[in-house]
């Protein structure tokens, strides 16, 4: 067994998840493929969203995959970093907005 939880080579094996649950695996990959097709949003825009989400969910496989996807699509590094900031802003905002909960509780408990 590998001594680390993440191995970059495992990304290539992603498709193998269907081997242990064929129907669900195939349904997932069909869905996944469909999501990233051109639609109301362009495939380019979806690639940037995927890159931002990859950072928020802290998935190293996804970060590798969507950095490469962005390069292939001609997305610039400035666009990529702004997308990461958009994800980070929402993530930090999600933390900070709970500050209101803290304030509410503080006020309720205080005389």
């Amino acid at each position: 067994m590998a001594k680390t939880y993440y191995n970059p080579d495992d990304l290539r094996k992603f498709g193998e998840i269907t081997e242990w649950s064929e129907e669900l695996g195939n349904k997932f990959f069909d869905y996944y493929g469909k999501v990233f097709e051109e639609g109301a949003l362009s495939a380019r825009e979806k690639s940037l969203i995927a890159l931002a989400v990859s950072h928020v969910v802290k998935c190293p496989y996804c970060i590798d995959a969507y950095t490469k996807d962005g390069l292939q699509r001609g997305i610039t590094k400035e666009e990529m970093m702004e997308a990461v900031h958009a994800g980070a802003a929402i993530e930090s905002g999600a933390t900070l907005v709970h500050g209101v909960q803290m304030m509410n509780k503080y006020d309720k408990l205080s005389m």
Binding site: R12, K68, L71, Q72, R73, G74, T76
Partner: protein
Amino acid sequence: MALLKSLSARKNDLSKPENQLAFLSNGIFKEGELPFFKDKIAKTGNYPLKPKKLEILQLNLGYMCNQVCSHCHVDAGPDRKEIMTKETMQQCLEVIKTTKAHTLDLTGGAPEMNPNFRWFVEEASKAGIKDFIVRSNLTIILANKKYHDLPEFFKKYNVHVVSSLPFYKKEKTDKQRGNGVFDKSIKALQMLNAVGYAQPETELKLDLVYNPAGAFLPTNQQALEQDFKTALKEDFDIDFDNLFAITNLPISRFLEFLIASENYEDYMYALVEAYNPAAVESVMCTNTISVSWDGWLYDCDFNQMLELKVDSKVQHISDYNEDLLNNREIRISQHCYGCTAGAGSSCQGSVA
């Protein structure tokens, strides 16, 4: 990062084609992780690979170039002295007079650096070939005063100019091709536009070649063309006709980069996973003959660099016989995956 010297000048092991071919047949392929190209195309009913109708005669006028691009499959540069002689050019002219190919494609190195380039273009244009291409790296036009009138010269002989521009932004272009290349390329494109290239009132054609600046594959050619057209028009008022998206093949200096950056295995996996049988049907070796600076014949420019001469009784321009050549079997190795990935890749861009 752009390099200062060719593999050849650095006496790098990869400057020898046999070492490149050995590398491409060992490791992940020998160990069975990935299939050999021959087995892969056999599975989709494409082996042996045979030529179809000859359409393109591609002549390499020499490996000398004013640039040393980090991805160059020719390993070209100022230190390369292999240049087509006038005698070989004369043999080529005899072939050009009788070939059934509708396209003549001059490449290099920088073909313009061959001292007999202008004489050859003038003579070759007399044969009345339908599409006469010169692959220009653009910066050559500004490299020296004697090249400044190349746009006018190309126009005079109705040459179809195909130029490399890795990206529409300075940083990526300069990283791959050397500092200052982007600004010079932009200036050269403006000079070509100024004499009428890619302008509605003329029929002078100017196409661009995009190749990825790194270990990744090109995306959809049409989408890239649109991005290039918008950016070049808005930023520099430049027009061009078509964009050809070309995949970097894992040979020569690009192979060196893949190995040094530890991207080789991932890149080969990406090529094999993107294998497209429809691209095999139209791969360029099926409609092209490539002639080297010293007159030897190859299935394509990549096989030329790997010194894989055509598998035919006729191997040299001096014995050229189109009918005999058309009966040959195309020579293949693992580098061929580069031309069959995704929408396919050729000197004319996507094929599928």
